[in-house]
């Protein structure tokens, strides 16, 4: 048996890739993809290193094309790209051994039970038969299809088929999970379940995720970094984690009994303010804390009815990117 089985070289490389934070998950260097006369992706340059990366964009922006190019399905017309440090032109096979892919459309093998399907896919990724069977059961338990794992895939509902696709993507223990519109066609509760599951997988810290979606909520709920594509170009790059931290300096107050004194006092602390009716928006200056605002309000007998950390939502970021 030992002669028929290679050493787990790929697995070792996986660990190395994950252990080295300096290696970007995706590194695009002027990547362009052309189908005939149409240029689908245009000179993309970026380096993504997050644990969960969101690919956002309107329909036809080039998200799926980018994923398919990274997987080696399409050849780049110019430029280059690296996935986990491997060149997509020369190391396609290696990249595919490190990646788990959940395609956007229906993808299954009819007249096959879910467990056989996932086992076969794991075997095609290089797992020995026994290990593949064990991993198939585990993956199906993990995605919540344990009870239905012996049923034929053709009898599954749309939500179950999505979960089966997720199971086949994680069964072989990839280092990078690429999810193309994972919540497509799911009802709200199934969508919630899927997002929670993706979050759990991300939090396991054993793999990195690239989530491609046109649903802002999905990306906002799961991703740390967002790359927004529009018409084949990078419209915006945003590190959501950093933005969330930065946005803690943005405050929105609803006041009762306020007059110009209060705003002046706050501005004297170095904060930028904008007043609308009984609302006050401000950016806290360095060294100023929320309790200072409360103190000033108490001194001037101003009641603060509501205080929000007003941050740009992903929707704001997305809309700005589309406008620009």
């Amino acid at each position: 048996m030992s002669t028929a089985i290679q050493s787990g070289a790929a697995a070792v490389t996986n660990q190395q890739a994950a252990a080295a934070p300096q290696t970007p998950v995706i590194d695009l260097q002027g990547l362009s993809v052309r189908f005939g006369s149409r240029e689908i992706l245009k000179d993309l340059v970026c380096s993504l290193r997050g644990r969960a990366i969101g690919l956002l964009g309107p329909n036809g922006a080039g998200k799926s094309t980018l994923i398919n190019t990274l997987l080696g399905f399409y050849k780049p017309s110019s430029g280059s790209a690296r996935v986990l440090g491997h060149d997509i032109r020369t190391d396609t096979r290696r990249i595919r051994s490190l990646v788990g892919y959940m395609p956007e459309n229906d993808a299954f093998i009819s007249k096959m039970s879910a467990v056989s399907f996932v086992q076969m896919m794991a075997e095609l990724s290089g797992l020995p038969t026994e290990a593949a069977l064990e991993r198939a059961h585990e993956a199906l338990f993990c995605v919540g299809l344990a009870e239905a794992r012996y049923r034929e895939l053709g009898t599954y509902s749309l939500g179950m088929k999505q979960l089966a696709k997720l199971a086949q993507a994680i069964a072989h223990g990839p280092k990078l999970l690429i999810l193309d519109e994972p919540t497509n066609g799911l009802d709200p509760s199934a969508r919630q379940r899927m997002i929670r599951m993706i979050g759990d997988i991300r939090d396991s810290n054993r793999l990195q995720i690239v989530l491609c979606s046109h649903l802002l909520r999905d990306v906002e709920d799961t991703c740390e970094e967002v790359l927004i594509l529009n018409q084949g170009r990078i419209a915006h790059y945003s590190n959501l984690e950093e933005e969330r931290k930065a946005n803690k300096r943005f405050l929105e107050l609803e006041l009762y009994g306020a007059n110009g004194d209060f705003t002046e006092a706050v501005e004297k602390l170095g904060c930028e303010c904008a007043t609308t009716a009984n609302r006050l928006k401000m950016i806290l200056a360095d060294g100023v804390e929320v309790r200072d605002i409360y103190r000033i309000a108490a001194e001037r007998d101003v009641r603060i009815r509501r205080l929000n950390f007003r941050r740009d939502t992903l929707e704001d970021i997305f809309l700005k990117a589309m406008e620009s």
Partner: protein, 284 residues
């Protein structure tokens, strides 16, 4: 590891060698194939004629029985016997292919499963090889393998002299079967890749052979030529088989022409497969 574990775990165990991945596809496809009772019954049926041939070979060497029948001249085990054997088994191979072939690739394409195969360290060539191996091994089991068994039985009964004189028949059995298997496999897979519905793909396979033959004859009759035979797959195969079994049937086509035509057929089928068997179609 426990199968009830609900959280994601990575895999750091051993991996199988890259060359063995096609065998995975072969194993699963074959298992799926024999789940059909009709398929299994048809496969078993394909062994009836080899069994009959085996009995005939035995009878041909059983002098007392032949004397009783006074038919010692009627059963002759020679190149014509094996040529007839390969003709019968060739027809059965075609019928088996018509049932089996269309189900190989078309379900994968209809259900969009190709990206799932090709997002793994598994190439398109390995996919085609894995699927083709199902047909190649299945058809081998009913053509040249029983043919060689018959040859071996005849050799053991007829003696070394006969074996030495007729050794070329063994080569012809294998070669003629492999050509037919290659043509059938490529044709079935190409049609299976282009036609999503399994039944339609099966019907098309029948049409290529029967309508092809009819169309070829029509061309020959209308244009008063013999070039219509180039699109008649059965005629091409028969030309090559008669050449391989050294039987003179006065064919109007030379074996070189038939070989060339078959190679063109194979090339077209391969081009069709290359065009269709890919993760996603590129719309230019």
């Amino acid at each position: 590891m426990a199968v009830y574990r609900r959280s994601y775990t990575s895999y750091a165990g051993p991996l199988t060698p890259a060359w063995s991945r096609s065998l995975v596809l072969f194993r699963y496809s074959r298992k799926k194939l024999f789940r059909s009772k009709l398929q299994t019954a048809l496969f078993v049926l394909c062994f009836f004629y080899p069994l009959l041939c085996l009995i005939l070979i035995y009878l041909a060497h059983n002098l007392s029985f032949l004397e009783r029948l006074e038919a010692n001249q009627s059963i002759s085990i020679d190149n014509r016997f094996f040529f007839f054997f390969i003709n019968v088994q060739g027809v059965l191979a075609f019928v088996l292919t018509a049932f089996t072939g269309p189900g190989l690739i078309s379900p994968d394409i209809a259900n969009g499963a190709l990206p799932l195969y090709f997002c793994r360290p598994f190439s398109r060539a390995e996919y085609v090889l894995g699927k083709a191996s199902v047909l190649v091994i299945l058809l081998s089991q009913i053509t040249w393998m029983p043919g060689l068994v018959l040859f071996a039985v005849q050799s053991s009964l007829a003696g070394a002299h006969w074996t030495w004189d007729h050794l070329w028949i063994a080569g012809s059995l294998v070669l003629s079967s492999l050509i037919w298997i290659a043509i059938l496999s490529l044709l079935a897979m190409a049609l299976s890749a282009w036609v999503k519905w399994r039944i339609v793909a099966g019907a098309l396979l029948l049409a290529v052979l029967f309508f092809g033959a009819g169309f070829a004859e029509a061309i020959n009759a209308v244009m008063r030529t013999q070039s219509g035979h180039f699109i008649n797959l059965v005629f091409l195969m028969k030309t090559i088989w008669t050449y391989l079994f050294r039987i003179d049937t006065g064919q109007s086509m030379t074996s070189a022409e038939a070989w060339t035509a078959l190679l063109v057929y194979c090339g077209i089928c391969l081009a069709l497969l290359v065009r269709k068997v890919r993760a996603y179609e590129v719309v230019k």
